[in-house]
């Protein structure tokens, strides 16, 4: 990739100020978009090849095209700023370091789909981001980048920042809409409730991730051809046992090994053991997969349901007890399950009970089959992807790290920990 742009200005302390943003070419993309017809803007985004960065990787331009064009139909734009996938922190970084980029992307997207009202569903714990974003929004209103007649174009868009209240499931798009309507964040049935058809207040709604909309601002500023030449950049959140955890901008399809290297590699004296390539909803992959490209293309990363997801690479070194990691992961899904469907609500509880006894030295030989069986019972049976996120880590560790489970069960102790602390 020739240059980094999503992160180019994140170290500039004044980037959140409108004047500084403008002096660095900010709102150029919006200016260009407003000179085009809305359909042309959508085409430009579609041609860029941009796929949503919230986790599902759906084509952004295509998604916008599902919304009806009829100007008489009220449409909404909703921004998913609820970032909660374990290991993911790139949206928070963008919100805190380049808030006007998001606002620019919002106005462009709103214009493309014909919305006059946008809502940003912001994670409650993002206190710093909230302050900076509200300040940037006020500046944008004051200078005619939001509100009525944006930059003399006749286009009107209002933006309101709404709040989450602590619920991972609210990041799922239909649960987010429920939450934004002031209800319990429980997913809606799809079909019929695809947001583009029946979204917020049952109106057609485009729902996009923070990073996705920042890409949109750059695509319009520089043109889709330039963007494609950059090699489809993506933000990787790298954490765990690496030397320099952080957000890295690299082309889509970079191998796990290269992403790991960008983050400084493993810590001294430690060896790579395994990783989650796409947040904890992905399967855990061992060393043999280090040269796998990190891409949405399922033929590449799909090992036991592993995936790029939110592009959060969580790296584990040879001191890691895999049984403990999976146990903690399942506990997370148990605690965050909305309780709507049985396989997820009950399955996560049963699985954590089995892990508890294995980790407390009371595991039984038949527990491994039991874990596999419960995971099977959850596969393809859950109402939403949260429940479906549990089996991949179970299947992959039962396959690649089975000996660790067996050792725990046989000896009631952890040899990995013992070796690491020897």
């Amino acid at each position: 990739m020739s240059e980094s742009f999503l992160l180019r200005y994140v170290h500039e302390p004044d980037q959140g100020e409108l004047d500084a943003y403008l002096s660095r070419g900010g709102y150029e993309g919006l200016r260009r978009a407003l000179a085009m017809a809305p359909e042309q803007v959508t085409d430009e985004v579609e041609k860029s090849g941009l796929r949503g960065r919230g986790g599902a990787g759906f084509g952004t331009g295509r998604k916008w095209k599902f919304l009806p064009r009829d100007p008489a139909v009220t449409k909404y734009l909703v921004v998913n700023a609820d970032e909660g996938e374990p290991g993911t922190f790139k949206d928070r970084t963008l919100l805190e370091c380049d808030p006007h980029r998001l606002i620019e992307g919002i106005v462009i997207a709103g214009y493309a789909i014909g919305a006059h009202q946008a809502f940003i569903y912001l994670r409650r714990e993002f206190h710093r981001a909230r302050g900076l974003l509200e300040r940037a929004i006020a500046q944008a209103y004051a200078k005619g980048y939001l509100g009525a007649d944006i930059q003399g174009s006749g286009y009107r868009l209002d933006v309101v920042v709404a709040t989450g209240a602590g619920a991972y499931i609210a990041g799922e798009e239909t649960a987010l809409l429920e939450s934004l309507e002031g209800r319990r964040a429980m997913p809606r049935l799809k079909p019929p409730f695809y947001p583009a058809v029946k979204g917020l207040y049952m109106q057609p709604t485009a729902l996009n991730n923070v990073e996705t909309l920042c890409h949109v601002a750059w695509i319009l500023a520089r043109g889709q051809e330039w963007y494609r030449q950059q090699g489809a950049p993506i933000l990787f959140s790298v954490s765990g046992h690496v030397q320099r955890p952080g957000v890295y901008e690299l082309p889509l399809g970079t191998t796990i090994r290269k992403v790991l290297e960008a983050a400084g590699g493993m810590r001294p004296g430690r060896a790579f053991k395994a990783c989650f390539p796409g947040g904890s909803s992905a399967a855990i992959l061992p060393e043999a997969y280090l040269d796998t490209p990190m891409d949405y293309d399922l033929t590449k990363l799909d090992v036991y349901g592993s995936m790029l997801g939110s592009a959060a690479l969580i790296v584990m070194d040879d001191s890691t007890c895999m049984v403990e990691v999976v146990a903690r992961t399942v506990e997370f899904y148990r605690d965050e399950s909305c309780g709507k469907c049985t396989p997820c609500r009950e399955g996560t509880v049963w699985i954590t009970q089995v892990f508890d006894r294995i980790l407390h030295g009371q595991g039984r030989t038949e527990d491994l089959d039991l874990l596999n069986g419960i995971a099977k019972g959850m596969t393809g049976t859950c109402f939403c992807p949260l429940g479906e996120s549990v089996p991949p880590a179970i299947y992959s560790t039962l396959r690649f790290f089975r000996h660790e489970y067996e050792h725990h069960i046989r000896t009631a102790s952890c040899d990995v920990r013992a070796a690491a602390h020897a």
Binding site: E83, G84, E85, P86, G87, T88, F89, D91, R92, Q117, R123, R124, E125, F126, H127, R128, V160, A162, T163, G164, A165, G166, A167, Y168, S179, L180, E181, G182, R183, R184, A185, Y201, S237, S239, G240, H241, P245, G246, V247, F276, S280, A312, I314, M316, T320, E324, V325, R328, T329, F332, D335, E336, C338
Partner: protein
Amino acid sequence: MPDLSDAAKTEIRRLMAQFPHRQSALLGALFVAQEEAGVLFPEIVAQVAEVMRLPESEVTSVASFYHLFRFKPEGRHLIQVCTNVSCLLNGCDRALERLKHRLGIEVGETTPDGRFTLRTAECLAACEIAPMMMIGPDRHGPVQPEQIDEILGKYV
């Protein structure tokens, strides 16, 4: 039980006016109430319901779904220690043990002087500073056990 102030009610009405449907302001309204009253006592929930013209049962049901609403008194400063994978890998257990020891409380409890409440949290989207925690609105990390006294000292 003090009533919600007029200022809080005005703020709730301002939030309601931001949305085409007033119920969309509910989460924000509950935070306004919680910040003023400290706790979402049933009487406070009832007042939020009244201002928003929503059934009290609906407001209670919604509030009970989310992790960040409080139904019993807590300390002045909420400590949230992330225990999700990235922080687990980086030793959040040690930081948590130290906190429990220094505060003399278990997870979920409040110090007798009402200063701190200790909780664990799921990923707070700041894994670059794992192991991390939040105290009130502030992020701290990477948290080394030996820094904990100094960090706690900033909160009175």
